[in-house]
Subunit: 207 residues, 2 copies
DNA sequence: CTTCATATTGTCCTTTGGGGCAGTGACACC
DNA sequence: GGTGTCACTGCCCCAAAGGACAATATGAAG
């Protein structure tokens, strides 16, 4: 699996060495001397890649950068690489979703394994998001009214009840309902509910 | 949140000390000198509680016990507590779902925080499983035929298609369908699909 | 002012879903 | 042989959903 590896480390000689090793393994590499440099690069989250991140770097620390990226909605997998790992930092990083936490010096085997896992995971996550994105896009084309009808439909309400709750007639609900099925590109109520469930639009306790 | 804390550690004096501290904090405590002792106790997974687990203990190690418990389907949260933490072990433990990884000596604050989090998480997980369990129980009461009909219904097939695929008539499908709705205790197709989705019975790509 | 999107509604007809009532046939268990 | 469960099915009727054809009303955009 090809991919772009972002190396963030303040040690120039380390960056050069790592870059050489990764390029040998067939990866594209970009290096950054600081977390800020990385943030300034404003990357495409969808492109296959991962981050090799040092914990202790001048300015924004590795974990701080991780938080920022998470807050910004990034899903680039992060592999921490550090000289001195303390337990709380390690635990926190992994809990926050880091792919791995390695210590320098790192064997090529461990490093490449971690990168391969990171890329695989990102790929799976991306394709999963991709499917949901299509649904969200369709959902966005619904008008307010259609969206209200949608919500009630997937909660199992029948047209009569929907009409009552929205203060309109059954005939009108049918019209909106038709539009909803059309715009969401589904052909059965089952598909519609299934999508709503995946988008987390349904309360765990029905009703 | 009250709960039972299982302390697994080979150091007798440590067990006594920890037990005292935890009881002071209002927890029930049971101690074990080895992982095997813990396994022999054959615990109830549903009872509120967690495990305080040493990494290096004679016989089965902490991480090994963790694997066993996971393989056995246990959902008791585990908090590792160890003297010397190496990074790979820490990473692996957290990735495998441990609630935390603390180093001795541990402050009461950190320890009690971790225990509280573990109990809260277990509680949330248990209630979530509980809801699903009820569905699974209902599902288990379906006959073979009803189950087949169920599967086709939630995939959006209409009675006519279901009848054709099962080589029977529409009237018969209706009869089974009625039984399905009855036994699953739902009142709409939407609820049925929602349940199927939560039980992971629907392919991510419909059809 | 015209055009477009949105929301609304009516009439009429067809297809589906849901269910009552009644009965048949296979098979297992006691 | 009696009893039960499960699967199957026909006839009939009602409720709900889907859709064709047609039309009104309103507000924003150009």
């Amino acid at each position: 699996m090809p991919g772009l590896v972002h190396v963030v480390d303040d040690d120039a000689s380390f960056r050069t060495a790592i870059e050489r090793r990764l390029k040998l393994a067939g990866y594209d590499v970009v290096t950054y001397a600081s977390a800020q440099d990385f943030l300034n690069a404003a990357l495409d989250d969808e492109q296959p890649g991962c981050i090799l991140l040092d914990v202790r770097i001048p300015g924004l620390s590795g974990p701080e950068l991780q938080s920022r990226l998470i807050a910004a909605g990034s899903t680039l997998p992060i592999i921490f690489l550090t000289g001195h790992a303390d337990t709380p930092t390690t635990v926190q990083a992994i809990k926050a979703g880091a792919e791995d936490f390695l210590t320098k010096p790192v064997s090529s085997e461990l490093l490449l394994d971690a990168i391969a896992r990171a890329l695989a995971r990102q790929d799976a996550a991306r394709s999963h998001r991709g499917r949901l994105e299509a649904f969200r896009a369709h959902l966005a084309t619904l008008t307010q009214r259609e969206r209200q009808v949608f919500d009630l439909i997937v909660r199992g309400k029948i047209n009569k009840q929907i009409a009552y709750e929205l203060g309109t007639t059954e005939r009108t609900v049918k019209a909106h309902r038709h539009q909803v099925m059309e715009k969401m590109q589904v052909h059965s109520l089952a598909e519609l509910v299934s999508i709503a469930e995946r988008l987390g639009m349904l309360d765990p306790n029905g009703r």
